[in-house]
């Protein structure tokens, strides 16, 4: 009996210590959710510090995947050749079409007097850490402030937008992918020009929200960045509309986020400050007051001027 009481007494400080650890964990969750600058700085410096070590660990794992990829490619070489030939033909047709459209676009721009944004340069980087879980859709990439990368710079592939930079250390950066729950991208429907917001849901599709009531997005309609908020440049492909139940709409990203290995970061040219991103006024020139047609944003000039 005395032995049992003694054991219970000895276990009490340990239990208190365990409880303290769990409470500390919950306190950390609150601190993390508060999104404090100090916490973000610690996270950035920490991941930056261990990134080279992670790269060392990831290299053999990547090599194994490359080996399997090579084996798969060899196995499907014949099939791949047929597919590539067909794709090549299709691309040639698209090339001719895009040349016609490009020339038409150039002519239209001259008529409108709009300025083509020359305020970005592409820096290519390799993705070195993918999400790994469903709870956070962020990606670590090579290059940081050493390549003039700043927070808010858009990250793209040849297909379209992947996300934007949220944290930068000297040699590494973190990308908040479109699909992350914290991602909010101001968008524009390409054919109907209605503005809205693409909200990540930590899943394969994004939610299309804040559309005006009269907006009727078409299935498979291309969604582009609108440039509102002056963080992302306008016109970057985000995804295609998928119709949900009732008035619910979703966006299927044009980029297959699962297969991102190399990305381009659209940085500002050397010597241009972060505050100088602007250029917004160059794209959106207000229409004359008498013009009663609808603007790109879905409001008539009268509504805007009132």
């Amino acid at each position: 009996m005395a032995g049992r009481t003694g054991r219970m007494r000895a276990a009490q400080p340990r239990r208190f210590f365990h409880l303290l650890i769990i409470l500390l964990g919950f306190a950390l969750i609150f601190v993390g959710k508060a999104d404090m600058l100090a916490v973000r700085t610690v996270q950035t410096s920490f991941s930056g510090l261990f990134a080279p070590l992670f790269n060392v660990v990831a290299t053999p794992v990547r090599a194994v995947e490359t080996m399997f990829e090579g084996m798969r490619t060899v196995a499907s070489l014949r099939e791949e050749t047929v597919r590539l030939r067909a794709e090549n033909e299709r691309l040639k047709r698209w090339q001719r079409r895009s040349e016609i459209l490009e020339s038409e676009n150039r002519q239209l721009r001259t008529v409108l007097g709009a300025v083509i944004p020359a305020d970005r340069q592409a820096v290519t980087a390799r993705a070195i850490a993918a999400p790994g879980s469903s709870f956070s859709h962020t990606m670590m990439i090579t290059h940081g402030t050493d390549k003039r990368i700043h927070r808010g710079d858009p990250v793209v592939t040849a297909d379209g937008l992947v996300g934007y930079i949220i944290e930068v250390s000297k040699r590494h950066s973190w990308v908040l992918m479109l699909s992350d729950v914290n991602s909010r991208i101001p968008i524009l429907l390409s054919t109907s020009s209605w503005p809205g917001l693409a909200i990540g849901q930590n899943s394969d599709v994004l939610s299309l929200s804040f559309l005006p009531l009269e907006a009727e997005p078409k299935e498979n309609e291309l969604v582009l960045t609108s440039g509102h908020g002056e963080i992302l440049p306008p016109g970057l492909p985000v995804g295609r509309v998928i119709k949900g139940v009732g008035r619910e709409y979703y966006i299927q990203p044009v980029v297959d986020l699962r297969k991102v290995s190399f990305v381009s970061i659209l940085v500002r040219p050397e010597g241009e400050g972060v505050s100088e991103i602007g250029g917004f006024a160059d794209f959106f020139t207000p229409l004359p007051e008498t013009d009663n047609k609808r603007l790109l944003e879905g409001f008539s000039p009268k509504d805007v001027l009132q």
Binding site: F17, H18, I21, I22, L24, G25, F26, A27, L28, I29, F30, V31, G32, K33, V39, V42, Q43, F46, S47, F50, L53, F54, V57, A58, V61, R62, E65, A127, I128, A129, A130, P131, G132, S133, S134, F135, S136, H137, T138, M140, E167, W174, V181, Q201, N202, S203, D204, R258, K259
Partner: protein, 183 residues
């Protein structure tokens, strides 16, 4: 009365082993992140760290403390920009639950250990989902979470065999070293 400096050095202290095992946990965090780069494991990388914490607390609870499990979780959060404290708390709770069940599980056969681990994986995922729900008022892709949980449960036997082998090798090395010192 002898001062601490006059006493012989403690050569069989468990602390270096504990530190090494905690560092191995951190290495597994990096390995888990590296596996996430495989297309097949995108957002569903197997939870190697969880299996490690479960195994260690089941068979070697003195070697991997609750605080070590907590710190390994914190390391993964800092490294991969996850919600701060979520992984750490979940791993600490897993360590506590495993310790609580270890007197029964330690004498069980592999199938029972596997089913206990499956429950632990479900608890781990549910706990993280609950925290996520409270923090963001929405749920992440459930199918991805199930895929990750399923992948972890399916791969557990392989990881278990690797851990048992590593533990046997470690114990053999330690025994040989101790025997050498005695001679």
């Amino acid at each position: 009365m002898t001062s601490p400096l006059d006493r012989p050095a403690e050569l069989s202290s468990p602390i270096p082993i504990q530190v090494l095992l905690a560092l191995f946990g951190c290495f597994l965090v990096l390995l888990e992140g590296a596996f996430a780069q495989w297309q097949v494991f995108f957002v569903a990388a197997p939870l190697l760290v969880l299996a490690y914490v479960f195994y260690m607390n089941l068979f070697f609870s003195n070697q991997l403390s609750i605080i070590a499990a907590f710190l390994i979780g914190l390391f993964s959060e800092l490294m991969f920009f996850e919600t701060l404290g979520m992984n750490a708390t979940a791993l600490a709770l897993v360590a506590l639950i495993t310790r609580w069940r270890s007197p029964i599980l330690i004498h069980s056969d592999f199938l029972e250990i596997w089913s206990a681990f499956s429950l632990i994986v479900l608890f781990f995922s549910s706990f993280k989902m609950a925290i996520y729900l409270v923090a963001y008022l929405s749920l992440p892709a459930i199918s991805d979470i199930f895929l990750q949980a399923g992948m972890t449960i399916l791969l557990f036997p392989i990881f278990y065999v690797l851990l048992v082998s590593a533990a046997s090798a470690g114990q053999f090395i330690l025994r040989t070293r101790m025997d050498g010192r005695i001679k």
